[in-house]
């Protein structure tokens, strides 16, 4: 209903509750830890009562970075680097595009982007098998 947008009723803006600042300070600490000790860490945003204004402030302050990625497994996971390199915004969705969990990850690279070692090993096996098949095919050919 496009007419919803035309509703001519004005209601005063609801204020944020200031949790964004606390999160930003925590991000600063974590980033310092990453720089100094190489320790990676993350903040679970769902445990905090963040208002829309808090989200605005978080996003405005952190800004947009250069990297955007999407992982497809059990529903999409969308990742973008914020304007602060090393600070990643990771949102897990389910198949119905509802947010499952949301994290700010402070890391060189978000963990979910790294290929798990076992998967890589499995992949290596699979690739070798494929190459073997190709070789067989070409031998037969």
């Amino acid at each position: 209903m496009s007419s919803l947008k035309d509703i001519g009723v004005h209601v005063v803006h609801v204020g944020g509750n200031g949790n964004a600042r606390a999160v930003l300070r925590e991000v600063e600490n974590l980033l310092q830890k990453l720089v100094e000790k190489g320790e990676e860490s993350s903040i679970d945003l769902s445990g905090l009562p963040l208002s829309a204004e808090d989200y605005d402030l978080l996003e405005e302050t952190l800004g947009e970075g250069e990297v955007v990625a999407e992982v497809h497994s059990l529903g999409p996971t969308r990742i973008h680097e914020t304007g602060v390199p090393g600070v990643w915004w990771v949102t897990h969705y389910n198949d119905e595009d509802e947010v499952l969990a949301e994290f700010i990850e402070v890391a060189w690279c978000p963990e979910i982007l790294l290929a798990p070692e076992d998967d890589v090993k499995d992949g290596l096996e699979a690739l070798r098998a494929r190459l073997f098949e190709l070789k067989q095919e070409s031998n037969h050919g």
């Binding site: 919803l4 009723v9 009562p49 989200y55």
Partner: protein
């Protein structure tokens, strides 16, 4: 051969119900229905703030989670002459309607369907043929062979897992199951679809009532202030403000979500629920012969367009139909002392005026007096008191309430869409109009009224939006909120059409506190025990004359009982007239 059958517990209902039935030659000759759980909520309500009553009453049932809340606030409003703003009425209508749609669909798929659908048989279905079947009855998008193949694989994985969970010990393979494997597979798929669909549509209650089950209500309106903010549309960010960016849940995002949910409801009803009902019913036309009940039907009416004081504005009208006679509608007076009365001749209660006399709910009493056998027990003495339910009667007559009563009333009062839908159904299934007075007719009526109600929702929604656009944000009337503004004594009745039937709450308020509170719920009308005259309640009457193929697998009893959509705790015994127990179905 006479047999006494005990089925305990009856599952896939709300609560705990017990029925006693006698069979002769595979036919039920007498049945007794017993509620075996009581909490005494009416007793607990005494002396409390009437404004709090809705929350207590609402906990009578968590399935039809809204109805007692609505009936309760209406009772208080009726007693105090407390008008509510138009927006509140529209929001309540939307919430009640959403409850209907949600409840009826869940009842059909999750509580009732397993009486008709053989889950194990679905494993044998051909996904391609299932797809063809599905596409022949509906244009629902999820109908590809691949979709059904996936569903079948899921089911197969589950069964092969060795742990059947909730499907353990089902009556799979019983000859009463008549659907072909493809229809079974389609139904099982829709069983799962409905499970995730209902999650979505329950959100309508969450937006207006804060949560579901047990959304919040308010005497004098609705609690959800409308926070519409044109400059600040919701963005659906983060796990918290997914509902919108407004200050309350009823903001632009929330209202848009309501609209989407109404669409989702309508699509599912039109494309899945109605076609499935007709498709399944076409295999069970023999069930138009059983389960008729008492032949008297009653509605209280609901969905006001003009406030509860103007019954002529109700979408569902009120009235009483006696002996299947649709040509004469008897008017109903909720306040008349001689019309609605509750009897306790066979209930575990005492009346100060003696057990034989009926009491109008205003004068109603709740004095628990258990006289049944000490648990653990094998059976109840059905000649004495045998239930925690009372026996409500209208002018001394038992009444069936619920979807069938409503559809008949709408039909009798000349509601065009109803007449059209009933006609279409009878034609499609090729059954006579008498077929409505049956187990299958009751189940079909439920589907038809869901269609009627879901179609009406957009109207209320549009009106709500129009009001908001016109600047009317009122959702609550403050004038009579403070008990100091109330008369010293007041009484009122709050009634509604719950999905399961006519529901009334009678309240007597004295000095700002509840002096008496009586709820006469649909399942009491339908599942109540015999009255002092020995007249059966609707469940009892409906089971009479019905076949019972195998007393150990009483699927026929479940079909009829489930067609009423019971909302109590129940159990079933079948005894022979001599009281000799021939078959003990429940062995301990």
């Amino acid at each position: 051969m006479n047999q006494r059958v005990v089925v305990d517990p009856i599952t896939r209902i709300e609560g705990h119900l017990r029925i006693e039935a006698e069979t002769e030659g595979g036919i039920i000759t007498q049945a007794s229905s017993s509620g075996t759980m009581v909490r005494g909520i009416e007793i607990i309500l005494r002396g409390r703030d009437p404004r709090d009553a809705w929350a207590f009453a609402q906990r009578i049932c968590g399935v039809c989670t809204l109805v007692h809340g609505i009936a309760s606030v209406r009772a208080v409003e009726n007693a105090l002459n407390y008008p509510i703003p138009p927006n509140a009425q529209l929001i309540r209508n939307l919430m009640i309607a959403a409850q209907y749609v949600h409840d009826h669909v869940m009842h059909f798929y999750h509580l009732h369907a397993l009486d008709w659908v053989d889950v194990v048989s679905a494993l044998k279905a051909d996904p391609k043929a299932t797809s063809e079947l599905a596409q022949s009855i509906s244009n629902y998008s999820k109908s590809s062979p691949g979709y059904f193949a996936d569903m079948q694989k899921k089911l197969k994985d589950f069964v092969e897992g060795g742990q059947l969970g909730i499907f353990t010990n089902g009556y799979w393979g019983h000859p009463a199951y008549k659907l072909p494997p493809e229809a079974n597979l389609m139904a099982v798929a829709h069983y799962l679809e409905a499970l995730s669909w209902q999650r979505e549509v329950a959100k309508l209650h969450a937006i207006f009532g804060g949560k579901n089950p047990h959304p919040n209500f308010l005497v004098g309106g609705v609690p959800c202030a409308i926070s519409v903010h044109p400059d600040h549309p919701g963005r659906g960010k983060g796990p918290h403000f997914r509902g919108g960016a407004g200050a309350t849940a009823v903001d632009l995002t929330g209202l848009q979500k309501v609209k989407d949910i109404i669409g989702q409801m309508r699509d599912f009803v039109d494309q899945v629920y109605v076609p499935d009902t007709l498709a399944i019913a076409s295999f069970y036309k023999d069930w138009t012969q059983y389960g008729e009940g008492v032949g008297n039907f009653m509605t209280f009416g609901d969905f006001p367009a003009n406030g509860m004081d103007d019954p002529s504005s109700f979408m569902i009208p009120s009235g009483v139909i006696l002996n299947r006679d649709l040509s004469t509608i008897h008017e109903l007076d909720m306040n008349a002392a001689d019309q609605i009365q509750e009897y306790v001749a066979h209930s575990w209660y005492d009346y100060s005026v003696g057990k034989e006399q009926g009491l109008h709910p205003y004068d109603g009493e709740t004095n628990l007096n258990y006289t049944g056998p000490k648990p653990p027990y094998e059976h109840l003495d059905v000649d004495q008191s045998y239930s925690w339910l009372k026996s409500p009667r209208w002018k001394g007559k038992p009444m069936e309430v619920g979807p069938l009563a409503r559809v008949l009333m709408l039909h009798a009062r000349g509601h065009e869409q109803t007449q059209e839908l009933v006609g279409m159904t009878l034609r499609t299934l090729d059954i006579p109009v008498q077929g409505l007075f049956s187990t299958l007719g009751r189940t079909a009526a439920r589907t038809l009224e869901t269609k009627i109600i879901v179609d009406a929702m957009s109207g209320w929604y549009n009106q709500l939006i129009a009001n908001i656009k016109a600047g009317d944000l009122r959702t609550f009337n403050e004038t009579l909120w403070e008990p100091s503004s109330w008369p010293q004594q007041a009484k009122g009745v709050g009634y509604m059409e719950a999905p399961r039937g006519a529901l009334g709450h009678w309240i007597v308020i004295k000095d700002g506190k509840i002096d008496n509170y009586q709820a006469v719920v649909p399942s009491t009308w339908n599942a109540g025990p015999r009255d002092p005259q020995g007249q059966d309640g609707p469940y009892e009457a409906a089971l009479k004359g019905q076949p019972l193929h195998d007393p150990k697998q009483p699927i026929e009893i479940l079909r009829t009982i489930h067609s009423f959509d019971p909302c109590i705790a129940c159990a079933v015994h079948v005894t022979d007239p001599e009281g000799e127990e021939l078959v003990k179905v429940k062995v301990r």
